[in-house]
Structures are given as C-alpha cells and as structure tokens.
Symmetry: C3
Subunit: 155 residues, 3 copies
Amino acid sequence: MTEIVHMIDSEVFLAFSTYATIVILKMMLVALITSYYRLTRKVFANMEDTALGGSTEDRKKMIRVDPDVERVRRCHQNDLENIIPFVVIGLLYALTGPNLSTALLHFRLFVGSRFLHTVSYLMALPQPSRGLSWIVGMVTTFSMAYRVLTTALFL
Amino acid sequence: MTEIVHMIDSEVFLAFSTYATIVILKMMLVALITSYYRLTRKVFANMEDTALGGSTEDRKKMIRVDPDVERVRRCHQNDLENIIPFVVIGLLYALTGPNLSTALLHFRLFVGSRFLHTVSYLMALPQPSRGLSWIVGMVTTFSMAYRVLTTALFL
Amino acid sequence: MTEIVHMIDSEVFLAFSTYATIVILKMMLVALITSYYRLTRKVFANMEDTALGGSTEDRKKMIRVDPDVERVRRCHQNDLENIIPFVVIGLLYALTGPNLSTALLHFRLFVGSRFLHTVSYLMALPQPSRGLSWIVGMVTTFSMAYRVLTTALFL
C-alpha cells in the first residue's frame, strides 16, 4: 500500500494524464460540432437562440429537430457514457502501479477506439465499425477495472 | 495541509477506489442492457444499425422509440447525473482524511442506494422506492461535499 | 517529474478542490430544480411516478413533455458536458504545479461562467448571455488542457 503514493509521480500517471486530456478534448470537439451544425443549419432548441431570425414566424420554424444535429448529440452522449468511466477507472488504475507498456496499451486502445467511434458515428459508416470501436473501448475499461479490484480491494 | 499527501495512501482511499469502481461498473452494465434491448427488440436510432433488417421498408420500421429502451436510457442518464458528482466529491473527500468507518458508511450508502435505484427503475417498482434511493444518494454526496468545503476551503 | 507528487499538497490543489466541489453542487442544484418542476407541475416520465394522480386517465395525462422541464434538463445536460471536462482537466492541471494566481483565475472564471450560464438558461435571458458564458467556460478548460499537454506530454 505504501507504494501507491509514488504512483502519481510515475510515467504511467503522465501517460494517463496525456491520454485522458486528449480524449476529453475530442469529446469537447463533438460539442463544438453540435454548435456549428446548430448555427449553420439554423436548428435550435430555445426560442432565445433564434434572435437573428427576423419575424416570430421565422423564428418558430428554427425550433426543430434535425437528424444531423441529433446524430452529433447521440455521439456526444455516447462519449459521456464511455469516456467518464475510462477517466475514473483509468485514474485509479494508474495508481495501482501497472507495467508502463501494459498501461500504454490500454490508454492507446481506448483513445484510438473512441476516435474511430466518433468518425464512424458522424460519417454514418456501415456497421460493425461503430459497434466494434464501442466494444473495444468497453473491454479496455473493464480490463482496467479488473486490475483495480484485484490489486486494491477494500470493501 | 501537509497531511493531505498521505491520504492517497490510506485505507480510505483504497475503499473509495473499490466503491467508485463498483458503481462505475454498475453504470456500464446499464449501457450493456440498453444495447441488449436494442438488439433483441430491434429498436435503433441510426439507419446504419439496421443493416441486417432486409428491405428498406423493414429497416425504416426499426428506427423507432421503444418504452423499455427509453426507460433504461433514463436510468442511465440518472446514473450519469448522480454517479459523477459522487466520484468527484468522493475523491476529494477521501483526500481530506476522514475517519475510516465514517467514509465506509458514506461509500456503502451511496453505492447501495444506486443499486436499489437501478433495480427500482428497471423493474418499475412502485414509488417511493426509486425516489428514496435517489434521495439517499444525493444526501450522501452532499454530506461528503460539506466535509470537503469545511476541511479545505480555499477560495 | 519528482515534484508532481508535492502538488497534491499545494494551495492550488486546495483551490481546485473547493471550486470543483462548488460547481458540482451547482450541477446537483439543477437536478433538484428538475424534480421540483416535475412535482409541482405534475409532469412525469414514468407511469409509477404518478401514483398520487387518482384515476388511470388522470395519471396518463401526467406523462407528458413540459417546455420548462425540458429547459432545465437541457441546462443540466450542458452542465454534464462542460463541468466533467473541467473537473478532469482541472485535476490534472492542478498537478502540473501552475502559479497560484493563474490557477485561481482559471477556476474562478470557469465556475463564474457556469453560474451565469445556468441563470441565463433557466431565465431564458436574451442571447448572447448564455452563449458567451458557455464560450468562456470552454476557453478556460482549453487553456488548462494546453498547459497539461505542454507540461507533461507522454504519448
């Protein structure tokens, strides 16, 4: 247990820090794409967002559901549902002192799979491209959770 | 302040690590249940997910909203909204060096309440089962936040 | 690298801990507002939540979509999408040992911008109040991510 405190100082922790930041930035990029679609296609969810729309009639038409915006939003939601578990479990995993190359394999697989997932989702690539990239991310996170629970279980 | 650095090495931190991992795994299980429902009931949100569906007409019918899938998704969303605050505040709380038994009480109450919440939600148990389990989780997180702010306030 | 371990003990980390807790509590407050609106306006998403509603016909009418409840929910979702990146990147940023005053500037700007965002959203203030507060939060998080990646890149 005494060695856990040193782990935050390790290359594994630096690697986690780097990959976690990159994958969070990727998630924020999806948020920016949503805004871009909303602004260029004039598709809004709130009446106050349509202020530049001229007449009240024109403005009401902008409050609608657009399939492309919904697609980006589903992609974003899937990011939230998968990247948050990775970040939490990845942080705890990094503190268990795993082998550097094993840890890098986990981090790279996860982050790579989420980039593929985003591309598959936004470009509507044929399945199983999106499904497989989702599964790879899930399995990577489960594998890290397994190590956390077997290394430092305290119930 | 100097003692905070030792906290990451403590049994409280190990306990946090264990319970946080368990509750995140529970949340991922809800994601898997959503996928299971989507695949077995053939209810999809994206056209490219219906590739095994035969004719275009059949495939279009699979793009629909199903009450059971929506229920699991609301459960998942509620998990995100409650488990993320627990994980963030729980981590900071664990670093304030609380009494081990008090910390365990908090972690167990929260994780137990979220398991009850999921069961109540997915089985549509009569209220107030789901409402009460939601409130217990909220109160536990508020209690930890109170300790974080009273122990280490720096504005 | 050896100095990273000391950072968790610093005033910057205490400041992060304080501001992260405050902004997460703010997010939980939005969840409570949703519940308040659902209960006072009798707008529910689940049949079992309408138990006090009398006849089956009355209860079915309570399962509906209310514009005010949807507004609070979009506000909550935007919180999730922005506060989680702040918490993750802010934690890693605090461990890179930034200048205290620079760190405080980042934390205060972000937390302040999110309070403004919530007020703008819930009161439906004219744009660009909500848009600007969203952008300030994003830029603050990007700025911290930039420091994390330039200080401790390990790919």
